[in-house]
Amino acid sequence: MKKKKILVKEEYCIGCRLCEIYCVTAHSESKNLIKVFRYELGEVAPTVIVEEKEYTTFAVQCRHCEKASCVQACITGAMHRDNGTGAIYVDQEKCVGCWMCIMVCPYGVIKRGVNKKKVASKCDLCVDREMPACVENCPNEALVLTEVGES
């Protein structure tokens, strides 16, 4: 199975945070950048995290691990791997917000959902789009999409 994977190139990241902005927009109701920042900010949050320390910056989102601790630790079965895409998703209907996934993710990229729904929130690799929004809008190729695994 071929699997999409986002590579993080910290040496190219300029810390512009466009990935965050486009991530929020892509996961919003309106999909409109201006409307999102005006009306939807309490409802949706980015699932990509930008980190910064002195001259080092990079963006990181769910790694969709081969052996995923979050899937192992999930008590409901909400956190699961999709057999088609190989990516890891949260079934928001099943999640009860026990935060076992937050406890075990070594990347710290699973968050508590914002819109009062107490469910885990994480990168879904932009399932509805050809190219994840963060990658598409990264101006310096600090986030790059590749395909791994056998076809």
């Binding site: 980190e51 320390k53 409901t76 937050i102 406890m103 075990v104 990347y107």
Partner: protein, 426 residues
Amino acid sequence: MRYVIIGIGPAGMAAADAIREIDEKSELVMITSEEVAGYSKPLITYFLGGKVDEKRMFYRFPWCFEEKNISVMTGTEIVQVDPNEKRVISKRGEEIPYDKLLIATGGSPFVPKIEGVEKEGVFTFTQWKDSKMVASYIVENNVAKAVVLGGGLIGLKTTEALLELGLKVSVVELADRILATTFDKKASQIMTRALQSRGCEVYTDDTVVQVKGKRKVSKVLLKSGREIKTKLLIIAVGVRPNVGFLEGSGIEVNRGVIVNERMETNVENVFAAGDCAEFRDPSTGESTNIAIWPVAFAEGEVAGYNMAGRPVKYQGGVPMNSVELAGLATISVGFTNVEDNGVEILKYFKEEENVYRKLVLKDGRLIGAVFVGDIDRAGIYTGLILQKVDVSSFKNDLLREDFGLVYLPKEYRKKLMEGELKVWLE
């Protein structure tokens, strides 16, 4: 080849998946003493509180077993394992042959000797049927007030569910604080206050010595002399590995079934994993029985692979728990109660926001972490604990509000990003 797995909890299910990953064809039988297979045990308190319905109780739907060509025997209690004849025997007398056997029977609730404990209205709380029985008992008897004996995770999650149903609840804990085995003192204190603010009474250094009432519970008497009127008593003082049926089988049992890093017992072709197993770490010789979901899952997976012929070793785990109680999210990982000389503690506490973080360091390594209120990115610390990363060079950054991967040594971060770190398995 015929695989038999006793127990359909996380260890059993993970083992079945691991076996099927390698071997799609061989016969695979899963056995449970319960009437339902594939549901998630930690959800029984959510079910009682009305947060999870029947359908969402299923970690794995019954038809998923069929899809994977797994035969399931429900309502089948195994009373004997006979390694000489390679078979297990059920209470009804069925003989089930195996080539490879996994014991994943979990734990059974411990019920202390209390006068009157056999009365109606006294329940343990570890299975879905307990949750259903308690729910109907509450309705049928107009229960407005409950006593929960045991202030551990099961007891408190049950307490939360009962509060959710509008009951008044008193928690009685033998130790000097609730959550004594899983969280540190400060966290216990914060959680106690949070529970009290929701109208829950918490009695520590105390226990139930007598259950009063004719046929049904009407009140309980505590060791301290206090009497509490209640129609419902939940006993949640702990679980013990469910291994009684192995007596006489020749399988080595201490607290749990002793297993090595491949989850093999001392008897050939017999494996054990999860809450009923006790992992003996070959590097230290010490054995541990860490009864938590992620460990059960990982051990089950290791057992499954080895049963199906792929040699995999378990790296060992640490205790860890995540629980949200009275609206407060809390996580505890590793060793958080150690206070000997060689240990360094880093912490901060924001009282007005109920935010508390504590890190325990020993010999330059992180060995424990507690988070209350703010649990964001807790897993990064768990990673450092499990990977035994030397944190001395960035120790002072560990409690920064913006702490993240960027503060980790570049080498470790690189390994992480490239997905080269192996958690649990080797």
